[in-house]
């Protein structure tokens, strides 16, 4: 229970604990199954931590490479100075320029480390966010989770991707190639041939434009290096030199199709997601699918289904249609009246007409109506004493 510091935060707060109208917070012990369920759910959050980290890592690497280069060029600048025959004034001028270069470097270093720290904070905030989830505040936490699935939390990363995708859709490979160069080592490690495919596409475009000479030059420079690993594909594509873009030869026709660009877009998305540890499918769809399947029962599609069930809604039914039904190994009975679970604490009782309700709900009804209960679905009235038990295992 939340305690407002203004009204209850004083020394008399103890008194308020026994306030007459407010039921004290019921602290039921948390069943361990709930805890392990939570732990398991948290394990789904790989992407949440991975994406900002990859971003952070990239910044660190870029910064480091930049400084390494700058420092070594300053060092070699001094070396050159020592090795050549400069006048005193020239030496002074050169040294001064080196000093100001170092000053600039220092400023950049500070900026760079600020960016790094900011990104580190973001990674840490996400970890803290995961840590903050516990059984008590689960509803609230789940709500935040949903909102972050809906909003693009890592929006700047998606912007980077969008730039490349838009360019590819305009049939330009330049920004995709820059992206490949930026992430060269990572792509190499995962044996990606995305760059190769971009190069092939450019080659094909040259052939399409019938600039055969250029195509051959281009091929020599950019396509041939891939020969060692992808000879077969290479041959297939280079053979297009012998064809026109309007060829009907099925083997080559496909290569000239503009659809190939969409394939590239798809491939880029794949590479991009892999690099950042993201799933190709939107997170929302993944969660929706799993949730819909787990909730999908034949009852959800019936008329008069309780509206608490998302599948009572037309739109959710539509999405759930191609998905599998849930499977149950154990009976789970929900009281029609109170919507509470009927278990050993609140066992089911059977009316003479075979309708089953929870003991709690029936007892309450009987207390209000001089020992009589009314079946809400058939209107049958009977004595509470006429009820019999049913044992569900």
């Amino acid at each position: 229970m939340e305690i407002d510091p203004v009204t209850n935060g004083n020394a008399d707060a103890i008194m308020t604990e026994s306030a007459p109208t407010i039921t004290p917070p019921t602290t039921t012990p948390v069943p361990s199954s709930r805890l392990s369920q939570l732990t398991e759910s948290l394990k789904l959050e790989h992407q949440l931590l991975r994406v900002p980290f990859e971003h952070y890592k990239k910044t660190i690497r870029t910064n480091h490479r930049f400084f390494e280069k700058e420092v070594s060029s300053v060092v070699s600048g001094v070396g050159d100075l020592a090795d050549s025959d400069w006048s005193r004034d020239d030496t002074v001028a050169r040294l001064s320029s080196l000093v100001s270069r170092l000053q600039g470097l220092k400023r950049k270093l500070e900026e760079g480390s600020n960016v790094e720290n900011l990104q580190a904070q973001r990674c840490r905030a996400r970890i803290d966010h995961l840590e903050s989830a516990d059984v008590e505040n689960l509803t609230e936490w789940n709500n935040t989770k949903l909102k972050r699935i809906l909003d693009l939390v890592d929006i700047d990363i998606f912007r980077e991707a969008k730039k490349v995708i838009d360019a590819l859709k305009n049939r330009e490979v330049a920004s995709a190639l820059t992206w490949c160069a930026d992430n060269k080592t990572r792509l190499k490690k995962s044996k990606s041939k995305f760059e190769f495919q971009l190069r092939l596409q450019e080659f094909i475009e040259l052939v399409r434009a019938e600039s055969y000479n250029q195509a051959i030059l281009y091929g020599r420079k950019h396509v041939a290096p891939w020969g060692a690993t992808h000879m077969k594909e290479l041959q297939h594509v280079v053979a297009t030199l012998a064809f026109k873009s309007t060829t009907e030869c099925t083997k080559y026709k496909g290569l000239f199709e503009l659809r190939q660009w969409d394939v590239l877009v798809h491939q880029f998305k794949q590479e991009f997601c892999k690099l950042y540890g993201m799933t190709m499918e939107p997170l929302l769809n993944i969660y929706l699918q799993a949730g819909l399947s787990a909730l999908k029962t034949p009852y959800g599609f019936e008329e008069g289904c309780t509206k608490e069930d998302p599948l009572s809604q037309e739109s959710f039914r539509k999405l759930a249609l191609p998905l599998p039904y849930s499977k149950q190994h154990h009976s789970k009975l929900v009281c029609y009246i109170s919507k509470e679970l009927m278990d050993t604490e609140n066992p089911p009782q059977v009316l003479p007409n075979g309708y089953v309700y929870s003991t709690k709900a029936l007892k309450e009804m009987a207390e209000k109506n001089e020992g009589k209960v009314t079946c809400p679905r058939t209107g049958l009235v009977c004595n509470y004493t006429d009820l019999v038990k049913a044992y569900i295992s």
């Binding site: 580190a120 990674c123 840590e131």
Partner: protein, 382 residues
């Protein structure tokens, strides 16, 4: 909890990053210091004219110092350590968390239009009208009907959160019958809050009048407490009725109003999208585990009619009664309903038919020693 492992691994990365950063900074500082020192020495007005090549020797000294500083092993070492931490952290993540949660994904394309509608209703249902409107206009979806209906509710709730009971009381009064039908004490709750508000302004008499006019029709028990609290008016916090000051009364009223309003609208007070996603995060872990074990079931996954394993969702996702026959382990259906044996145990009709050879003989209940006559079994309706 594994979050700690992740946290530790990340702390290492952050620490090494800081270290590497300060080492780089140090190197840059030392370089500029040395160069500046040499520069000053060269520029110093010197009387020593017989050494016109002084600057040369200074520069070659500088070269030596600079080369000592630059590829400093310390810098290299710090960076190496950072690299180790950097490549270790994703491994820790992969180990403690599920690195690919799309393994249990069926390749079906959701109808984008439907998904958009669902998301828009979600925003409206949460009272996020600006975001909802923005979303609708960006996706080019037709305006959602959910907007209108939720708008009124959020105006009422907004007022209520400001502790302005007017709109809420109006709404409750005009839906009084329906609220009563739904067994809700919302009206009483709102009136009590109003009563307390008047009383808190030290106008006990006004409060009494208000109670006379509005409260008696509902409950005498609640009324007793309210009236009694007037005896301590002014220092309620030291009275047995201190609870009346608690802000939880207000949050409870907000909750109840949301519930009742949605109820009358025919909507669920819980957003169906959040319910589904919450169910999804419970269902995904076991499904992923299954897919990790059953690598060769990938194909089947795309077509199966029913999930291959039972997924236990917690109580709040249990909307329907499900009866699974303890003998056949099959779910009951209309043509195979649950039947109660005279001893109280429940089996499916098919099981009873099988055990009684279609009613031709009595059989033993599988759960107790009773002899069962199939004709005495009664169908149950959950």
């Amino acid at each position: 909890m594994e979050v700690k492992t992740v946290k530790d691994a990340f702390d290492r990365v952050a620490k090494k990053q800081k270290l590497s950063c300060s080492k780089t900074q140090e190197t840059v500082d030392r370089l500029s210091r040395e160069i500046e020192k040499a520069l000053n020495a060269i520029q110093e007005p010197t009387t020593d004219t017989d050494n016109p090549l002084l600057h040369k020797s200074l520069v070659s000294d500088l070269k030596k110092t600079v080369q000592e500083i630059a590829p400093s092993n310390q810098l290299e070492a710090a960076h190496k350590e950072l690299n180790v931490a950097l490549s270790k952290y994703p491994k820790v993540l992969e180990k403690t968390l599920n690195s690919d949660i799309s393994k249990a994904y069926r390749n079906v394309e959701f109808d984008l239009h439907t998904v958009h509608q669902i998301i828009a209703s979600f925003f409206y249902g949460q009272g996020l009208f600006d975001i909802g409107d923005c979303f609708i206009s960006e996706t080019g979806e037709p305006e959602s009907s959910a907007r209108e209906s939720f708008m009124e509710m959020y105006l009422i709730l907004k007022a209520l959160k400001r502790r302005d009971l007017g709109p809420a009381l109006n709404w409750a009064a005009s839906n009084s019958d329906k609220l009563e039908q739904a067994n809700s004490d919302l009206e009483m709750k709102l009136h009590s809050l109003h009563f307390l508000k008047i009383a808190q302004d030290k106008k006990s008499l006004d409060a009494v009048n208000y109670a006379r006019k509005h409260i008696p029709i509902y409950s005498d028990r609640g009324l007793q407490k309210l009236m009694c609290s007037l005896l301590w008016n002014g220092n309620l916090d030291k009275s047995p009725y201190a609870g009346f000051l608690s802000p939880t009364l207000w949050t409870k009223a907000v909750k109840e109003l949301t519930r009742q309003y949605c109820n009358l609208l025919g909507e669920s007070p819980e957003s169906p999208l959040s319910v589904t996603v919450a169910a999804g995060s419970q269902a995904l872990p076991p499904l992923l585990k299954y897919m990790n074990l059953m690598v060769n079931k990938k194909q089947e996954w795309q077509t199966m009619e029913q999930l291959p394993i039972p997924v236990e969702l917690s109580e709040e996702f249990q909307f329907h009664s499900v009866f699974v026959c303890p003998v056949t382990k099959e779910q009951s259906r209309e043509d195979n309903p649950p039947m109660r044996l005279c001893c109280g145990h429940v089996l499916c009709k098919q099981s009873i038919n099988r055990m009684s050879k279609n009613g031709s003989k009595s059989f033993k209940c599988p759960y107790c020693p009773s002899d069962i006559d199939a004709s005495q079994c009664r169908q149950l309706y959950f």
